[in-house]
C-alpha cells in the first residue's frame, strides 16, 4: 500500500517569530525522510501541525491526494498519522499497559494480545505491568512507538528521537525504523544531528528560519554540505594547535580519589589519580552513567570525600565548597544547564550574579547592586555572542546554545585558571557547538587548563590534549590524543582493554 503525504504552503506565525513560512514538502512511503534544522528552525512546529497539536494559520495537508483537516490529535490518529514526541507523552505513574490502553478502543485482552505480538515481532523487551517511571529513556520511547504501531500507522513521525538515547539504544532504534519503512510505513525523522541523517535517511529536507532551504537525496550529501545548508554560512573547521604543555608546570593533582555511595543510582569511584598541566585539556570519555557526574561533583566541591587529595596551584582544596573553589580561580560548567547551571525562572543578570557572591562588588552591605551586575552581564552577552542584549530576560527563554554560551561566559569572564565542563555541547546545534569548541580551544591557547568530561567522542578527539576513559568508576590510563583512535576509545568505553 502506497502512502503519499504532502504539505502545501503551510504557515504559522507566533508573536515575534515566523515559525513556518510557506512550507511545501512531499513524502512517499518506503523511504525515510529527514527533516533537518537547527533548534528554532521550525521543525517542531511543522510536526506539531502534522500531529494536530498546533493549527496552522495557512496551508493544507494532503494524504494520498485528499486534503485532511488536522484540528486535534484525534484527527491525526484517525488519519493514521503516528507521532513520537521529543518529550515523551507518557503518564509516568501509570503502568505501561495502562498507558497503551488509554487511547485504545480495543478490549483489554484484545489489546494485550496485539501488544504482545508487536513486542515479539520487533524484539522489544518491556514489562507491560510496571509503572512507566521505572523504564529507561529508550524503553519509554519504545512504549511511544508501540502506542503508534497499535493503530497501524501509515505515517510515523519521530521528533529528535535520539536526544535521550544511549548509543546502543540508538542503533536498536535505527534497526526498528528501517524495518517499519520496509513494511511500508512512511517515516519522517526530525533531527539536528547530521550523522544520523546520512546513516539512516533516504531523503533530507533542510529547514532554516522557518523555510525549507533544500531538498535532496542523502547520498548526494556530506556532513559539511548539510552543515553549511543548515547554518546558512560556511563553517570554519576548527583545528587545535599542538600545545607545548609538556614543559609547563603542573596546576592540578588529584590523588587517591575514592567515592562510595549508598544510593544504588550513583556510581562508586575507585582510586582515581591524575594531574593536569597549565594550558592542557584533559578529556574524559565514557558512556554516561559510569561515574562522570560523581567525578564532576567531586571536582566542583558539590560532593566532599574524606581521603581524597586535590591539590590546585599547590594548595589543598579538597575540603572547600564550590564557592571557595571559585575564589581559587576554578570554574565549572555542569551537565544540566537548566537545573544545575542556571535557574530558568530568574533573569539573565540574576543568574550571572548567582555564582559571584563574594568576588567583585555585586553586593554591598547585603544589598544587590543591580547596576553593576547588569553592566557585567551585558559584557558577558556581547563577549560570548549570546543572541540577545536584554539582561532582564528570563533565562528559560534562551535557546540551549545561548544559555550554554551565557553559562560558559559567566565562568570565563573571571579568567579562571581551570575550567571543568561536563557535556558542554549536549543537545546544541552545529553553530553553537562550533562556538563553544572555539571558546574551549581559546582558553587553552591562553595558557589556562580545562577538564572536558564528555560522552561525545568526536568532541573529545577534537579538543583534548590527553584522553582517558572512565568505566564503572575507574579511569583507564591517560593517553596522548594522537595515540588515540575512535576504535580504541570504543573498546575502553565498553570495558575492554587495549594492551
Amino acid at each position: 500500500m502506497n502512502t503519499k503525504l504532502r504539505v502545501s504552503e503551510i504557515s504559522k506565525i507566533y508573536p515575534g517569530c515566523v515559525a513556518n513560512d510557506e512550507i511545501s514538502l512531499e513524502f512517499g512511503s518506503g523511504k525515510i525522510y529527514a527533516l533537518l534544522g537547527e533548534n528554532g528552525a521550525g521543525k517542531s512546529t511543522l510536526v506539531k501541525i502534522l500531529s494536530g497539536v498546533v493549527r496552522p494559520d495557512k496551508g493544507e495537508v494532503f494524504l494520498n491526494d485528499k486534503s485532511i483537516k488536522l484540528n486535534s490529535p484525534l484527527d491525526a490518529k484517525k488519519n493514521n498519522i503516528g507521532m513520537v514526541f521529543q518529550h515523551f507523552n507518557l503518564f509516568e505513574t501509570l503502568s505501561v499497559f495502562e498507558n497503551l490502553s488509554i487511547d485504545s478502543d480495543k478490549k483489554n485482552e484484545e489489546l494485550r494480545l496485539s501488544v504482545n505480538n508487536i513486542l515479539k515481532k520487533y524484539n522489544f523487551k518491556i514489562d507491560l505491568d510496571i509503572p512507566v517511571l521505572n523504564l529507561s529513556a529508550g524503553q519509554k520511547q519504545k512504549v511511544e512507538i508501540i502506542r503508534c504501531l497499535i493503530r497501524n500507522p501509515k505515517v510515523l513521525i519521530m521528533d529528535e528521537p535520539t536526544s535521550v538515547l544511549t548509543e546502543q539504544e540508538t542503533e536498536d532504534l535505527f534497526v526498528s525504523l528501517k524495518q517499519f519503512s520496509d513494511e511500508g510505513i512512511l517515516i519522517i525523522y526530525i533531527t539536528h544531528k547530521l550523522k544520523e541523517v546520512l546513516s539512516l535517511c533516504d531523503e533530507v529536507a533542510v529547514m532554516r528560519k522557518g523555510k525549507v532551504v533544500s531538498v535532496s537525496e542523502t547520498k548526494e550529501e556530506k556532513i559539511e554540505t548539510l552543515a553549511n545548508k543548515m547554518v546558512g554560512e560556511n563553517l570554519s573547521t576548527i583545528k587545535k594547535k599542538i600545545n607545548n604543555f609538556k614543559y609547563s608546570e603542573e596546576i592540578l593533582k588529584i590523588s587517591n580519589l575514592n567515592f562510595r555511595s549508598d544510593d544504588p543510582y550513583e556510581t562508586n569511584l575507585i582510586n582515581l589519580n591524575f594531574s593536569l598541566k597549565k594550558g592542557e585539556c584533559l578529556g574524559i570519555a565514557g558512556i554516561s552513567g559510569n561515574g562522570q557526574s560523581e567525578l564532576f561533583q567531586i571536582l566542583s566541591g558539590e560532593i566532599i570525600t574524606e581521603y581524597t587529595s586535590i591539590k590546585f596551584r599547590d594548595k589543598e582544596i579538597s575540603k572547600l565548597n564550590p564557592r571557595e573553589r571559585r575564589e581559587y580561580l576554578m570554574a565549572f560548567s555542569p551537565e544540566d544547564r537548566i537545573s544545575q547551571a542556571a535557574v530558568p525562572e530568574l533573569k539573565i543578570y540574576e543568574n550571572v550574579a548567582l555564582n559571584n557572591f563574594k568576588s567583585s562588588n555585586f553586593f554591598e552591605k547585603g544589598l544587590v547592586n543591580e547596576k553593576k551586575i547588569k553592566e557585567h552581564s551585558k559584557k558577558i552577552l556581547s563577549n560570548f555572542s549570546v543572541n540577545t542584549d536584554n539582561v532582564e530576560m528570563k533565562s528559560q527563554f534562551l535557546s540551549g546554545g545561548n544559555l550554554q554560551k551565557l553559562i560558559i561566559g559567566r565562568e570565563l569572564i573571571t579568567s579562571p585558571e581551570l575550567l571543568v565542563c561536563f557535556n558542554p555541547t549536549w543537545g546544541l546545534d552545529v553553530g553553537a557547538i562550533n562556538y563553544i569548541h572555539e571558546t574551549l580551544i581559546n582558553i587553552n591557547e591562553q595558557g589556562k587548563s580545562s577538564i572536558l568530561i564528555s560522552t561525545d567522542n568526536d568532541e573529545l578527539l577534537k579538543l583534548s590534549d590527553r584522553i582517558c576513559v572512565i568505566y564503572k568508576g575507574k579511569l583507564s590510563k591517560i593517553m596522548d590524543v594522537n595515540e588515540v583512535t575512535p576504535e580504541k576509545l570504543g573498546i575502553l568505553m565498553g570495558g575492554g582493554s587495549i594492551d
Partner: protein, 310 residues
C-alpha cells in the same frame, strides 16, 4: 465503667456516624485531586450543602429533596471554582481559599432565618435489628441510607479509579495534562467533571451534618471538618481505602477523648482535644510509608494550571 459489649457496639456505631461527613467529602476531593485539581474549598462547599439541605427541608418538608438539593448546591458552587481555575486559569490555592470564605459567609447569611428551627427526624434503616442483636446490632443496623452509602463509597472509588476507563483517564490527566491533551483527551472537560463531582459529595457531607448528625442549623456547623477531609486525602496518599481508615480513626478518637474527658482523666483537656489530629496523622503516615506507592498515587500535576497550546 462496666464492661458492656452492647455499650461498645453503640460507641462504634457513634464513631461510624461521626466519620461519615469526612468520608464523603474526602472521597469527593480525592477524585478532584486525582485529576490534578487542588480545591481547598471543601469546607465552603460542605457548609453550603449543610445550609441548603436544611433550608430545603424546612421549606419543602421533603428530606429526599433536601438531600438532592444539598448535592446540587455543592455542585453549583464548585462550578464557580471550575470556571475560575479551568476557564480563567486562576491559581487553584487562592481560588479554593476564596471559595471557603465565600461559602462560610454565604451560609451564615442564608442561615439567619433558620437558626433555632428544629430538624426533622431522618428515617433510619433496620431499627428492629439494631435493638435485638447485641453488640453487632448497633454497629451494623439502625443507620441512615447515607451512612451505608458513605461506607461503600471508598471501595467504589477505588474500583472506579483502578478498573474503569474513565478512572484511568482521570489518573492520566492528573499525571500529565499535556500528555493527555496530546492524546486527544479533553483535559478541561475531565477536570470540570471531577470538580463538580467533588462539589456534590461535599454538599452531601454538609447535608449529613445538618439533617442527620445534628439535625439543626448552627452557624459554622462544619467546624473545620472540610479541612480535616482535605488533610485526610493528602495523608492517605490519595488512596480511597486509607481515607476510610483515616476518617474512622479521626472519628473514633474524637468520640473516645470526649468520653475520657467525661470520666475525668487527669490529662489536660487541650491535649485530649488535640489527640484525634495527632493520632490520625501518625497512623496515616505509618501506613503510607512506602515511598514508591506514594509516588504512584500522587497526582503529579496537582495544583498546576493547564492551558492548551493553540
Amino acid at each position: 465503667m462496666s464492661f458492656d459489649l452492647n455499650f461498645i457496639g453503640i460507641l462504634i456505631g457513634a464513631i461510624m456516624a461521626s466519620s461519615v461527613p469526612l468520608i464523603l467529602a474526602a472521597s469527593g476531593e480525592l477524585i478532584t485531586e486525582r485529576s490534578g485539581v487542588l480545591n481547598l474549598g471543601v469546607e465552603g462547599m460542605m457548609i453550603i450543602g449543610a445550609i441548603s439541605g436544611f433550608a430545603l427541608m424546612v421549606i419543602t418538608d421533603n428530606l429526599f429533596l433536601a438531600v438532592i438539593g444539598s448535592m446540587i448546591s455543592g455542585l453549583i458552587i464548585s462550578i464557580i471554582f471550575g470556571v475560575l481555575t479551568q476557564s480563567l486559569l486562576t491559581n487553584h490555592v487562592a481560588t479554593g481559599l476564596a471559595l471557603t470564605i465565600f461559602g462560610i459567609g454565604m451560609s451564615a447569611m442564608i442561615g439567619k432565618n433558620f437558626v433555632g428551627i428544629p430538624g426533622k427526624e431522618f428515617p433510619l434503616l433496620f431499627v428492629n435489628l439494631k435493638e435485638n442483636i447485641p453488640f453487632l446490632g448497633p454497629i451494623l443496623f439502625g443507620h441512615s441510607v447515607i451512612l451505608y452509602f458513605a461506607f461503600l463509597l471508598p471501595f467504589l472509588t477505588n474500583y472506579f479509579l483502578r478498573k474503569t476507563k474513565i478512572g484511568l483517564i482521570i489518573r492520566a490527566v492528573g499525571d500529565s495534562p499535556t500528555s493527555a491533551s496530546n492524546q486527544g483527551i479533553n483535559v478541561t472537560l475531565v477536570r470540570y467533571s471531577c470538580i463538580l463531582y467533588g462539589g456534590a459529595m461535599c454538599g452531601l457531607a454538609g447535608a449529613y451534618l445538618s439533617l442527620i448528625y445534628t439535625p439543626q442549623w448552627i452557624e459554622n456547623m462544619t467546624g473545620g471538618r472540610g479541612w480535616i477531609a482535605l488533610a485526610l486525602v493528602v495523608f492517605a496518599t490519595w488512596s480511597p481505602i486509607k481515607v476510610l481508615i483515616g476518617a474512622l480513626i479521626f472519628g473514633g478518637i474524637t468520640i473516645l477523648q470526649l468520653h475520657m474527658q467525661a470520666v475525668g482523666l487527669r490529662i489536660p483537656v487541650q491535649l485530649l482535644s488535640a489527640l484525634p489530629y495527632i493520632m490520625t496523622i501518625i497512623v496515616l503516615v505509618v501506613i503510607s510509608r512506602d515511598s514508591r506507592k506514594i509516588k504512584l498515587n500522587t497526582p503529579t500535576s496537582l495544583g498546576q494550571i493547564f492551558y492548551k497550546e493553540k
